[in-house]
Symmetry: C2
Subunit: 288 residues, 2 copies
């Protein structure tokens, strides 16, 4: 919490947002701002202060990884219903980090080739290297969310996947990846108004797809599928965080805080020189 | 030039920086600021104003590509001697664009697998999709720069590559990619002081490699190799731009201007709705 000590956070974001035993999605108010005592203006200010911290921590992580000082990486997994604000998180939180330190992977409807493999095949290929912040815009969780709601796979296959995910994520964690799984939790009402905005603005038409309303119609089924995901896959090594997302400013600030706390935990240090500094200074001075 | 009309540019960046017939690298002053009438403070202000323009133009390009309204993409190729500021361009110019609209590819020393293929094999795989700004941090030009200076391939193979590059880039251009090739041109003196800074600051040690001085020793050979690159590969469809880079603020501003002018040329428009807007509004209103 050091980095946020002068700010309006009253608790550790990871503490207040983590899915623990007995968590029920239905109990979360999507307009709430857990752990944060400030308002929208404070939120914007605190987001801006976090930018430089996040950028430096990421650069340190990258630097440390170049000299084998760490095998750590961070993987942010973003899942949400349409319009919940994944794009805004990527633009305003992830986008504040040096692009050389970020590996972004957007998982869309699987291709024929991807479908011919196990559901984790395409995921495995996009796992971040040491030193990077990987971001999954949708993920392997689609295979137990839309996969379950739309019955894209048999029930026993969906069942198998929860265990496969837990094993996969444990292996990632053991190899140094800090996994931060975020569900952006908007209300159905807020989604309605955001979809209405897309239909009102010609510069937003391209973001609208008539299929969005079909998914919206299955809202309760999706919420049930998320609840099962949390129960089966929120683990010590890869916990879920449910971030109330009706207020965009809070959601962005909270995801930034989750990343900051994770990086502060890693506490990456500038690596020592792997060469003789004085000798190199002399060589440089002699060069033409 | 519309977008920059209130600013301190006195000419189109593409006009003043393009490598044309008779260009000689040795004639360029790395501390100069061609086409720009302002100083460092103006430069920072103009860079900041360009951020929102670049971001909107990129989003329009992406939107247009989603509805098949365009097959256009932009490919920024960055080449330079060490410390010339590629990283700063990526952080401060490219980094101001939504990460979802950028495809960054850093080409390092080729792997065994890459070396077993033609030199363009690994490049082809990273060509940007329509709607994106692709950025090559180093590129296929390494194969005729370090490739030539360090004699990593026979002379006739190096010779063959110039033609292969021209053909490759023509094919890219014909399929909609606007290629912007930038050489960041620093002086040997400026490099010396930037290397000295890396040796003075423990948070910069990780950026220093003793091999950098070996490359520095071959400076005149590299300049000759660049001169040949310009003569053989600066074409109508894929011109080179030589950007004086001793002043970081100018180099960043100039590359931003090159991207802005390229996107303004494409002039991407928000695509029309591909659905019946009123019918969708009615469906949304009826949804729960």
């Amino acid at each position: 919490m050091t980095a946020k000590s002068q700010h309006q956070w009253t608790a550790d974001a990871r503490e207040v947002l983590r899915v623990d035993e007995g968590f029920r999605l239905i109990d979360v108010d999507p307009r709430s701002t857990p752990g944060y005592g400030g308002d929208k203006v404070d939120g914007h200010n605190d987001l801006a202060s976090g930018v430089a911290q996040l950028d430096e921590l990421q650069e340190r992580l990258y630097a440390a990884s170049r000299s084998d000082a760490t095998d750590a990486s961070v993987l942010l997994v973003l899942q949400a219903m349409d319009t919940a604000g994944k794009g805004g998180i990527i633009r305003h939180v992830v986008g504040s980090v040096d692009p050389q330190g970020v590996a972004l992977a957007a998982f869309k409807r699987p291709t024929e080739e991807e479908l011919a493999h196990d559901f984790l095949w395409r995921i495995e290929k996009r796992v971040p290297e040491p030193g990077l912040i990987g971001v999954f815009d949708r993920s392997h969780y689609e295979d137990v969310l839309i996969g379950r709601v739309r019955e894209l796979a048999p029930a026993d296959e969906i069942e198998r996947r929860y265990g496969a995910i837990v094993d996969f994520e444990r292996r990632l964690a053991e190899s140094g990846t800090r996994i931060v799984k975020v569900m952006l939790n908007i209300s159905a009402d807020e989604q309605k108004s955001r979809l209405a905005e897309r239909l009102d603005r010609p510069d937003k038409y391209w973001k609208y797809n008539p299929g969005d309303l079909d998914e919206r119609a299955a809202w309760p089924d999706y919420m049930a599928a998320y609840q099962t995901v949390f129960e089966r896959t929120s683990t010590e090594h890869a916990p879920w965080y449910v971030v109330p997302a009706d207020r965009k400013w809070y959601a962005r600030l909270a995801v930034q805080a989750l990343l900051l706390e994770t990086l502060e935990d890693i506490d990456p240090q500038w690596p020592a020189a792997t060469f003789d500094v004085e000798a190199e200074k002399a060589r440089l001075a002699r060069s033409w």
